[in-house]
């Protein structure tokens, strides 16, 4: 259904995303994971055609046979919200403070011509109930500031789901929430995906979150794919040094006996990246080859872009 092919994003000739490819089928969830600044959000925005000013995307974003990158804004508006829904990290600010909740959920339906105003309001109430808002009838008339963060994220989900899109993009949907609320929202998203059969691109910096929701995972770093494969395989036996580092940094990492070890260093800004492997410099196995040339794709139980993949040294 969605197939991203050789997606590149540049900002003033700096590479933000380097040659990213992945695909998502109906009803399937792909997890996109990587530290903050690795380019996850830009990849999502490129699919939506909503990149910030000055960013240019090339390659292809095929959605149900149409290359979204080739469409003008007017055509893209008929996809956004209608066929591709998106939810964001900040539930506290993603709702317009001056409009009532019910109206905000209903208006996407009216906007895309699926229903008239009164039908849409009735559907909005049903959607609020579906996403687990208590007393949906009363909440229809609330303003965003009257809701908690978790409730607002539920409303955002109701808005994104309203037109029953084929694809849902969730960019760090739980990162701003408390742990208990976080798992409730994850359950809800999981539940909705299975029931509505949407494809989901689930973005998080947290491998533990991805592990709960996505069958397949793509690890991103410095705008480049590091490793991809079946989530279980990736967690059980990662081959890429970066994935291994992410895993070791997890509080409940699967590697018995090891302590929490954050990866030393931080994500370098785009202009400081070497032509070779973006992880070079922080990688314990990096050598001069890694610095100069883009790492090759190596195939095993996962796919890893690395000169020296394999078990932890």
């Amino acid at each position: 259904m969605l197939s991203v092919e050789h997606l590149r994003i540049t900002f003033r000739d700096l590479p933000i995303l380097r040659d990213l490819s992945f695909s998502i089928d109906r009803g399937e969830a792909l997890g996109l994971v990587g530290e903050s600044g690795s380019g996850k959000s830009m990849a999502a925005l490129a699919i939506m055609g909503l990149l910030p000013k000055g960013m240019k995307a090339s390659g292809r974003v095929m959605f149900e046979g149409e290359n979204l990158l080739a469409l003008d804004d007017a055509r893209l508006c008929t996809y956004r919200g209608r066929h591709i829904g998106m939810i964001f990290q900040e539930p506290m600010t993603a709702l317009n403070p001056v409009h009532r909740i019910g109206q905000q959920v209903a208006e996407t339906l009216v906007l895309h011509g699926l229903m008239n105003q009164s039908e849409a309001l009735r559907e909005a109430e049903r959607l609020l109930e579906r996403v687990g808002i208590d007393e949906p009838h009363r909440r229809m008339h609330s303003y965003p500031h009257e809701l908690s963060g978790g409730q607002r994220q539920r409303v955002m989900i109701a808005m994104a789901m309203a037109c029953k899109p084929g694809l849902l993009i969730a960019d760090e949907p739980t990162s701003a929430l408390d742990v208990t609320v976080q798992s409730e929202i994850l359950d809800l998203l999981q539940d909705l995906r299975l029931q509505e059969g949407m494809g989901t691109l689930f973005i998080s910096h947290d491998l533990a979150v991805i592990a709960k929701v996505a069958r397949h995972t793509l690890v991103l770093y410095g705008g480049a794919a590091m490793e991809t494969g079946d989530t279980l395989a990736l967690l059980r036996e990662p081959r890429h040094p970066y994935t291994q580092g992410l895993l070791a940094a997890l509080p409940h990492g699967r590697t018995r006996g090891t302590r929490l070890q954050p990866i030393p260093g931080f994500v370098p800004p785009a202009h400081q990246l070497a032509p070779g492997c973006p992880f070079y410099g922080r990688c314990p196995r990096g050598d001069s080859e890694c610095r100069m040339r883009p790492p090759p794709l190596t195939l095993a139980h996962t796919h890893a872009w690395c000169f020296h993949p394999g078990r932890r040294a």
Partner: protein, 275 residues
């Protein structure tokens, strides 16, 4: 919010004065105690009395009737001139904001800067020398001077709103740029626009009084506070109240709208641009 408003002294006083001026102006549309244009030389320069509550002027015209018709004219100028400035200015400002940094944006803002370089009344006088004197032309002149004021404010506020997350969410939901301006930007900048509108309203009343004082605003026999003030000068020794009443009317109306704007600024808190 209403509770906060009613406990705000400047808002309450400003609102009271504004409503009073408004009611008097509406009254003047339907009724005045005397015909304010009727000249009776025999009854000229009378002091306040039971028949002429605020006395008569040098032509024997009833000052109270002229004053309340003057209120009507002052409000008319305010409403139409601020209306012109708001509608055109806000449209320009929002268009400029959507194309931030573009040639169109640059163009609009440079023209605004240019008009700001001239003092308001001077600009109005300049425009009136082209259009000719009169109430309608004065309204147009004051309206034109209001356009860049609102264009700037609308652009700045719109830029702030457009950086909000809910705008990105609206785009992701499939809203086009015009839809986003109408549905999300405009409702979130109305507070700041209302505050500015009441300030501009006071300035418009003052500008009309000034232009009429100079004889290029409202033309006789249509009464205007500014011209009443000018006319009274000649008779200041014989009838000092003739200057007092229009002067007080101008001061009161300007004060009222300014206080209302001040109160609204606090009550609506447009700095946060949120309720």
């Amino acid at each position: 919010m209403i509770h906060r408003a009613l406990r705000h002294p400047s808002f309450v006083v400003g609102l009271a004065i504004t409503l009073m001026v408004l009611l008097i102006a509406i009254l003047a549309v339907f009724w005045t105690p005397h015909d304010p244009t009727a000249i009776r030389i025999s009854a000229r320069l009378r002091p306040p009395s039971a028949t002429n509550w605020l006395g008569t002027d040098q032509f024997g015209r009833d000052v109270f009737s002229m004053l309340i018709l003057g209120a009507r004219n002052a409000l008319l100028v305010g409403i139409v001139a601020v209306g012109i400035g708001l509608s055109i200015g806000v449209a320009l400002g929002m268009v400029a904001a959507t194309g931030e940094g573009s040639l169109l944006d640059e163009g609009i803002m440079r023209v605004c800067d240019f008009t700001f370089a001239f003092p308001a009344v001077l600009t109005a006088i300049l425009i009136l020398t082209f259009l000719g004197p009169g109430l309608v032309n004065a309204i147009i002149a004051i309206g034109i001077f209001n356009i860049p004021v609102f264009a700037r404010i609308a652009r700045g506020a719109a830029l702030q709103v457009m950086a909000r997350d809910y705008i990105r969410a609206a785009r992701a939901a499939g809203r086009s740029t015009p839809g986003i301006l109408a549905r999300h930007v405009l409702p979130n900048i109305t507070g700041i626009l209302i505050v500015q509108a009441s300030v501009q309203f006071a300035l418009a009343i003052l500008a009309e009084a000034g232009l009429s004082y100079l004889g290029i605003g409202t033309q006789p026999p249509n009464p205007s506070w500014g011209r009443m003030l000018n006319d009274s000068q000649t008779f200041l020794a014989q009838a000092p109240t003739l200057a007092l009443f229009p002067g007080a009317a101008i001061a009161l109306a300007v004060l009222g709208f300014n206080m209302l704007g001040d109160g609204l600024r606090d009550v609506l808190d447009p700095k946060s641009l949120e309720r």
